[in-house]
Amino acid sequence: MANIDINHLCRLAQLALNDAEHEAVRGDLERIIAMVDQMQAMNTDHVEPLAHPLDASQRLRRDEVTEVVDRERYQLGAPATQDGLYLVPRVVE
């Protein structure tokens, strides 16, 4: 059984679990991964991965400005803004 590093996954996914949740999620994930591990027994030699159900190519868009940005409307209900900027706690680089 794979040792799933829940803490690492939570860091990558920016989730914080309390102790009880942590244990519950670990248990769930172990069962889920055990279920998907059934895949390993299935032969996929020489099979190309299927990313999209229809084998189509990317359409190209004409290079022109088509958006009129309504900043006030988009920022209605934004958690924190000032002078048109979105505010977050100071990021130290």
Binding site: L9, V47, E48, L50, L54
Partner: protein, 485 residues
């Protein structure tokens, strides 16, 4: 006024002047109110609906009405509706108001449909029981102690209970078909790329499709006709031209007049319990109508659930990264740092199932696991699609169960995610292959509805819907309704 009437009947009533759209809308709004305990709606847009209905009445009076003019409908709360909250069943978007309409919403509004409100759903479309909504579970109108299915549980239950004639839904692994089956109504998931995903909050981008839930195949055809087509805003939207689908809203759905070859996959009927007899009866019904039955094999069926949970989990894990409390949506109180803002906003905002899927997906994409999980799943996806393509060399349609059984009791499966995932065993494979599929009511087991699934080749919605029309011409399961307020 018959609240279980199909769109066609309602449209005729409106044109004859039996009632106005405003009266019709009032009727449904009252029914929604009287059945609030089912918890099928997250938002009810009473004022906007009456305004839209009044406008529709004017259009009707001018004789300019189309097939959907003045007809009430509900949108699953995953479709962005300008000016009206779009929550995706989540605390993260509890009060979020989209500044634009989803393409599906805009199409149906311009066809004159009147929006009653936004229906309840499993959070971010992740679930098979509608027990994962921040706004509470939805009850199955046939038996309130049971689930309506998910993730489009609100839409299916609302149609079943006569609270709206039609409702939109989304289907990623079965989220239209399974609740339609549990609630005894009809529901279609079109070919991948048929309907625009623009404005539909993404769960698993290569699987999600918008679709319709209604009382019969005719209703599905009308609404699908008016909401499909190429959308330049969606790179995955198909440019396939289907003149039949474009015109069926006006011309009406005809029962199929040729006998098709219908395949029954052995793998799907293996462990089927109570529904088996009903499915076999449905198959024989089609046979006596001129279809030819044969057994086919879809050998990689067992790979479907693991492949699906890896692919959908991986795509979902990144699609949900935008919910970070920075520029829209839920932000925790007094974040002490950026890390704190991210972690607490997301952890407080998302429910447990969503977190499980995000972590599963993150695992599948992480360094060292990508080949074994994500890439492997995509290879299995190819094999599953190839199974279907091979089958469609021999048959025109595939007939299968929609679900392993009838609607289960609320709470039965919440402790066991893997058992819950097994609910989608018959619906997931068609999703992985991008094939169109629908579910029709085909009987009852202990008073609870059972659904029959029809799966077609890519862009074969005509065969699917016309065959459904044939079946519904000869049977009346779709005309059974639960007892509701």
């Amino acid at each position: 006024m018959n609240e279980f009437a199909s769109i066609g009947e309602l449209a005729r009533g409106l044109r004859r002047g039996d009632y106005s759209s405003v009266e019709l809308v009032r009727h449904y709004l009252a029914r929604i109110q009287n059945n609030a305990s089912l918890n099928t709606f997250i938002s009810v847009t009473e004022d906007e609906a009456l305004i839209a209905a009044a406008k529709a009445d004017q259009t009707l009076q001018r004789g300019k009405a189309g097939p959907l003019t003045g007809i009430p409908l509900a949108h699953k709360d995953i479709f962005c509706t300008q000016g009206i909250p779009t929550t995706c069943g989540s605390r993260i978007l509890e009060n979020w108001i989209a500044p634009y309409d989803a393409t599906v919403v805009a199409c149906l509004a311009s066809a004159g449909a009147v929006l009653l409100g936004k229906t309840n759903m499993d959070e971010f479309a992740m679930g098979s029981s509608n027990e994962n909504s921040y706004f509470g579970a939805v009850l199955n109108p046939w038996d309130n102690s049971r689930v309506p299915g998910g993730s489009s549980g609100g839409s299916a239950a609302a149609v079943a209970a006569g609270l709206t004639p039609i409702a939109t839904g989304t289907d990623t692994g079965g989220s239209i078909r399974q609740p339609a089956a549990f609630c005894g109504v009809s529901g279609i998931k079109p070919t991948y790329g048929r309907v625009s995903r623009y404005g539909m909050a993404a769960f698993a981008s290569s699987l999600d499709q918008a679709g319709v839930i209604g009382h019969d195949a005719q209703d599905l055809a009308v609404v699908l006709s008016l909401m499909s087509g190429l959308d330049p805003r969606d790179s995955t939207s198909s440019d396939h031209v289907d003149s039949w689908l474009e015109s069926v809203a006006e011309s009406g759905l005809q029962p199929i007049n040729e006998g098709l070859n219908i395949g029954l996959p052995g793998e799907y009927f293996k462990d089927l319990g109570e529904g088996r007899a009903l499915l076999e009866a449905a198959a024989r019904e089609l046979e006596s109508a001129g279809c030819r039955l044969s057994e086919i094999s879809l050998p990689h069926t067992d790979a479907a659930i693991p492949a699906y949970y890896i692919i959908s989990g991986a795509e979902a894990s990144t699609n949900l990264s935008r919910y970070d409390g920075v520029h829209f949506g839920y932000r925790c109180e007094n974040p002490k740092s950026l890390q704190d803002l991210y972690q607490r906003s997301r952890s407080e905002g998302f429910g447990t199932e969503v977190k499980r899927r995000i972590l599963t997906g993150t695992y599948a994409l992480s360094v060292g696991y990508f080949d074994a999980y994500y890439l492997k799943a995509q290879k299995l996806r190819r094999l599953i699609q190839q199974d279907f393509l091979a089958a469609f060399e021999q048959v025109d349609l595939i007939l299968a169960p929609t679900t392993p059984g009838v609607a289960f009791h609320t709470g039965d499966l919440t402790g066991d995610p893997v058992a819950m995932y097994q609910q989608d065993i018959f619906t997931i494979p068609a999703s992985l292959a991008g094939l169109p599929a629908l579910s029709l009511p085909c009987g009852f087991s202990n008073g609870l509805p059972i659904g029959m699934q029809l799966i077609g080749a890519h862009f074969s919605e005509r065969q699917l819907l016309e065959t459904s029309a044939l079946y519904q011409q000869r049977t009346d399961w779709h005309q059974h309704h639960p007892e509701v307020a």
